[in-house]
């Protein structure tokens, strides 16, 4: 036996279920216009959070990285990124042509490196970072020459850095004990790759000297901190978003020749429009074949003759001494180069960014009031004002529509054109709103374009959702299922 109360609640549930299954279209349509502001905000925010957090089909990552590459090629590289860093960083490179012309096959002996370092020191660089790993013990009696070279750097007061091996499987020392015993600083050579492309750079790395806790600064950061004390390094978390310059160092353009010795341009000359077309539809032709950072081939140094290019590129510069050797597996793609680039250029670009941005590089996180927000929360925070503004404008539009029914109607064609115009304006408004907020964040907290550009796409999606009235319909349906009745229906009953 059932009580009347239970009978009544069962009946209510059955009617609710029936309304959920077969909603009254007219009721839903009428209830749509009663959607409250908070509900619109909730729906849009929920949609945005889902898209940002769940990364459906890898859409977030792809959008971020694609936009970062395009921004590097079309906006930041050619127009915004200064050459301040480029003019202070040089790569002294051992490449195949060095080995061939010097007739010094790879691997070089310690003494050969010592000679190259000695030649560098003669030009009084600001600091030298050695991008070769000296891990393996080998039968080479010239090790003492490299130890002496380190001593000469110390005597000359030029900072010299070595890099240490990481995750070595058999417990080998990260740097040969005899070299480490000189007290030379050892840096972590790690870089960040995403699909083989170097777009980010770590802010922290291994500590090799047992001081500084579990993590120390990454290679470029440590060098910047030591060599540029005039620019205090901002507290950095997670990763640096590298901005790759596109104004290739003039020496690289001068050096670049084909196999027959004929001068070659590093990239095809083009105006902004053609470059834009190429960036979107034929990316390789918009990229440069040459590295961005200035190169000094090692034999130019070893010759020891006066050379105005070398004299301009080494003194008071930070030098990365590295290699570009086939089969050494030390190359990556970059967003602005059409060819694989030796990873020494990634370290050089990271330092370039730190110098150009005076110790406040672009990041994949944002720090506000001492609190660091990772990528997803940062994007969610950035989308909140967009959601609030779009929702507010949507509510105004609903009220305006309700009032419009009392006004004079336009012709059908006029209505169509007006409708299309408003639709376009609405999408562009959302687009520019998100773009503006993103740019503000980039300038204010150094959040990289890659980490807010998805908000621009989401903003346009939200605008489209509002245009077809997704939150309104959802509200109308829910309200109807919950038993809500439109005003005219209430009056009739």
């Amino acid at each position: 036996m059932t009580s009347p109360a239970m009978h009544s609640s069962l009946g209510r549930a059955a009617r609710t279920w029936e309304r959920a299954r077969r909603p009254d279209r007219a009721h839903v349509e009428a209830l749509k216009s009663r959607v409250p502001y908070w509900f619109v905000v909730l729906v849009l925010l929920g949609f945005s959070i889902l898209q940002i957090m769940l990364n459906p089909f890898g859409f977030s990552d792809l959008t971020q990285r694609y936009a970062q590459d395009i921004a590097n090629l079309l906006i930041t590289g050619p127009y915004l990124y200064p050459t301040t860093g480029r003019d202070q960083v040089t790569v002294a490179l051992i490449d195949e042509e060095s080995l061939h012309s010097l007739q010094m096959p790879w691997p070089w002996r310690y003494g050969d490196h010592a000679r190259a370092l000695g030649a560098l020191l003669e030009y009084r660089p600001k600091a030298v970072v050695i991008d070769f790993l000296f891990v393996d013990e080998r039968n080479d009696d010239t090790l003492s020459e490299l130890v002496d070279a380190i001593a000469r750097y110390k005597k000359a007061g030029v900072p010299l850095y070595f890099e240490g091996g990481i995750n070595l499987p058999y417990g080998e020392a990260p740097l040969l004990p005899k070299l480490a015993a000189t007290g030379v600083p050892i840096l972590d050579p790690s870089i960040e790759l995403y699909d083989g492309v170097a777009r980010q750079y770590p802010t922290s790395g291994h500590c090799y000297r047992g001081s500084g806790g579990d993590t120390c600064l990454s290679a470029a950061l440590q060098v910047f901190k030591d060599v540029y004390p005039q620019y205090p390094l901002a507290p950095l978390n997670d990763k640096i978003e590298l901005v790759w310059g596109t104004k290739t160092a003039p020496i690289n353009v001068k050096l670049n020749h084909d196999a027959n010795g004929k001068p070659q341009p590093c990239s095809e000359e083009s105006g902004a429009l053609v470059r834009t077309y190429r960036a979107f539809f034929d990316k390789h032709t918009a990229q440069s074949a040459c590295p961005y950072t200035a190169i000094v081939p090692i034999q130019a140094l070893m010759m020891g003759l006066e050379d105005k290019d070398v004299s301009a590129l080494i003194p008071d510069h930070v030098i990365f001494y590295g290699g570009s050797l086939q089969g050494a597996q030390d190359k990556s793609f970059t967003p602005v180069n059409s060819r694989l680039q030796p990873n020494v250029f990634v370290h050089a670009m990271a330092l370039d960014n730190l110098i150009s941005f005076k110790g406040r590089p672009q990041q994949n996180v944002m720090t506000v009031g001492g609190t660091t927000f990772s990528n997803n929360p940062a994007q969610i925070m950035a989308i909140v004002p967009i959601v609030l503004i779009l929702s507010y404008m949507h509510m105004r539009r609903i009220r305006w529509r309700q009032k419009k029914t009392t006004r004079k109607e336009h012709g059908a064609m006029m209505e169509w054109f007006l409708g299309k115009g408003v639709e376009k304006l609405w999408h562009w408004l959302a687009f520019f709103l998100a773009l503006g907020i993103g740019l503000l964040l980039a300038m204010w907290v150094g959040l990289s374009v890659a980490n807010w550009v998805e908000d621009v796409f989401i903003a346009v999606e939200l605008a489209a959702m509002l245009l077809i009235g997704v939150p309104d319909s959802f509200w109308g349906y829910l309200h109807h299922v919950a038993g809500g009745r439109p005003a005219h229906s209430e009056g009739a009953s």
Binding site: D95, D112, R115, R138, E145, Y170, H284, I295, A328, R339
Partner: protein, 136 residues
């Protein structure tokens, strides 16, 4: 204004006095024809037993002889000279030297790697395999 004039005069006089000293190196060895090592450039000059050889000793700048005829130039730019009767090789960056003939041009093909291919092999470095710590 007076101070500026004074500084200009002092700087001018200093440069005038320095000129003969700067020119001395090249004039000093005018009796030598061909390539020549004029003097030491770095605080110490390393002497090697072969172009790709081992350092045999380092000589202080003031003890390094001047005006040495270069008897041979190696492809790696090392210069063969005779010091105290011994034939040795010196790295060119450590000495001031005179080069007759044309300086070798340094050009590069900077479009180094492939744009969609990568070497799928590791360079054989010629080193011994790393030994496991404690392994026999």
């Amino acid at each position: 204004m007076k101070r500026l004039l004074l500084i200009t005069l002092v700087a001018g006089a200093a440069s005038f006095c320095a000129l003969p000293a700067l020119a001395a190196d090249s004039n000093e060895c005018s009796s030598l024809s061909g390539d020549a090592v004029l003097s030491a450039r770095t605080p110490q000059v390393d002497l090697y037993d072969a172009p790709n050889g081992k350092r045999i000793k380092s000589v202080d700048q003031d003890k390094f002889p001047k005006c040495l005829a270069v008897t041979q130039r190696a492809p790696n730019m090392m210069l063969q000279v005779s010091v105290d009767g011994a034939v040795v090789w010196v790295p060119p960056h450590m000495v001031n030297y005179r080069l007759t003939g044309k300086k070798p041009a340094i050009c590069r093909n900077l479009a180094m790697g492939g744009n969609d291919t990568k070497v799928g092999a590791t360079r054989a470095l010629g080193e011994d395999c790393p030994q496991k710590v404690g392994a026999p």
